[in-house]
Amino acid sequence: MTNFEELSTEDKPTWCPGCGNWGILNALKNALVQLNLPKQNVLIVSGIGCSGHLPEWINTYAFNSLHGRTLPIASAAKLVNHELSVIAVGGDGDGYGIGMGHFIHAMRRNIDITYIVHDNQIYGLTTGQASPTSEKGFKTKSTPHGSIEIPVNPIALAIASDATFVARGFAGDLPHLTKLIIEGIKHKGFALIDVLQPCVSFNTLNTFDYFQKRVYKLENEKKYDNTNKIEAFKKALEWGDKIPIGIFFKSERKTYEEELPQISKTPMVKHKIDNIDISYLMEEFV
């Protein structure tokens, strides 16, 4: 049985006290414990930013990649060994800024990975610049006169890109976030979990308090049907006094790896390579 302690490392996180990242790390550990996933079968791929450090404090296989480059590494690892549980973690700058191209294409591909985005609407590690999800008018070191751009809407973008699992969590609600991560990992296909993750050092606007007052759970909305794309899209556009969290959209589509007959019997990593016969191929060139 996988337990919480064996997933924990000797070193303690270096995140700021009170940072939303603590909640995400604990929710992820809880999810792995509840799913009873052997730690050697879990691969966590991260990018750069405060979120990028997450794998340092959880005992699994990990690849701490470049800024914005989590998804290509995670996707390929899953393709060559689909028996792994692959979880990608990144920040809003990482995934919706520099890595935006990979994000869209990963959703299109529907490789069975779970993508957790630590969305704090600010660049924290570089000490406070505007991020792709910073609100219009938001004043930061790089936007002293207020951000002119409007923010990216990752949930709407994901629904439009036909992601098969689109959810939003809140780092201040651990049980709820744990549940979302469990659902995301269990989901067959690409799962986005955008997490509202207050940055206590550099984002004085989108604080825990700010979100506590605003968030409400979609699962409590009796009439909400998260398999209805149009309804999901409407909910995705909701932001302001009320901010929905939970699963916005879910659909079923074959995963990319299911479409590959090469690995239908055996994961690619288990294919023998010692004595591959290419004599037939050489004959084709004669």
Partner: protein
Amino acid sequence: MKKYGLTWKIGGEAGYGIATTGMIFAKTFSRGGLFVFDMNESPSLIRGGHNTHTVRVEDEPIFSHIKSVNILVALNKETVDKHKNEIALDGSIIYDGESFTIDRSEVRNDIKLFSVPLKRLATESGGERIMQNNVALGASMALIDYDIEYLNSVIRDVFGGKKGKEVADLNIKAAKSGYDYVKEKFLNAKKIKIEPIKNSPKRMYITGNEAIALGALKAGCKFYSAYPMTPASSILHYLASKEYDYDIIVKQTEDEIAAVLMAIGASFAGVRAMTGTSGGGFSLMAEAIGLAGMTETPLVIILAQRPGPATGLPTHTEQSDLRFAMHTSNGEFPRVVVAPGDIEECFYETFNAFNIAEKYQLPVIIISDKYLSESHRSVDLFDLSKMKIDRGKLISDEKLKQMKEFKRYESTVDGVSWRSIPSQENGLFKAATNEHDEYSKISEDAANRTIQVDKRFRKFKVLESEIDGAKIYGDNDADVTLIGWGSTKGPILEAMKFFQKEKIKIKFLQVLYILPFPKEKVKDVLENSNKTILIENNKTAQLGGVIKEFTGKDVDYKILKYDGRQFAPEDIYTKVKEVLEFDKL
């Protein structure tokens, strides 16, 4: 000594099957036991623009094209205008006199004009006008007096497969009509006689890129990710076509950044992986190549060069990314740069690259160029008997169990540490883009930093002692030494034939590995040569600079070319001659 030899060139508008026709011609002779080399030149357009395919045929081994053309098949007037000066003494032009006319005064007197109604014969034999290419092939066979059955067999394979026997028969009929027309109409024309060589071994008619792809398949490459870019795309195409037969995942990505990262991710997860691109895409890969270096993830990268900077001349050839390959990415880390010079080296060095990448856990860059990647040559079947997969310190589950603790980045004597892959119990580690300690934990400690940098470079020292990175061809006691790398090998070896005929002693030093650089061997050659002449297809003599850096020696002369075209052997001969004459003064 050669008895037979000719160069045949077909030219016309892009999009009219020039390359296919050229390939059929070349294979026709390759199957007859002759040696062939071909190259195509085309603009970066799908339709329109001028396209040529040049095939050289001889009865002894050949390594490149030569300039002078014996038979020019001109599908349009532009071909005549552009290439009439390349025609050898007593050469011929085959053209369709019903489509355009050639005034006798336009071409030299010795050139023979064969007007063959290509389009009419194509339609009369029941085909489309596009089959005029086959009529021209038939006409060429008649002029060469070569057994047309070889041509038919190739046509059957090219058109017979998917399209069925009917299409093949139509094409064969069209070819025969051209053949018969020339035989009847130009009964007394002097033929260039080429005879098949009986009982010669089977040879492949294959490009550098195809050889690279075969080398990768043989090496057990299970993941190839790439973004389309000339002249690397045919590796993607070939491997994709074998995806199911050879159980390999071939992924076209959203960009080259994803391509290289996917290959890194696949390799990290335990399979042999490769990516391929040209200079522009390679620029995008720069940061991730450093990631492979830092995380010590094995990686093979094909860099098929074309003239830059930026988009440059997309469909032409140049050797201007050597320094770039040596220094791509920020920071310092060991990497291998290998520059195959011919088809065989494309195959064997790609295979080796996978062994080196895994044995030393670093990126290996195979640097080619358009000329090598896309030109065909007839080569013997590759010798597979001695090829052995070596996965280096990829750790087994048993060994992991025996270990008290697993240190992924252990600072060993040879600098290489045991590597586990996800799913192995007791092998947990975190590949980290940050500097890390032996346990793979991120560390900014100064002493640890030095230990890890030294560890990574120690691998390179060991690797250096294992690789013989230079080859020498020709006379040991030569008066003149030519030095080059990559695809110029072919034209250089051909140019040497001219000197050997004149009894001038000449040798060629081919630098095969740029990193690790074969400094002892190169230094030795430079110290013991009367005259050294560097030949490079670039402006700044990049190899010359590298030689100076590693040996402290200068080359005596440089012959450089950077017009986007490969050296012709005749040009090298003339330039070297000039140097020799100049030296006498």
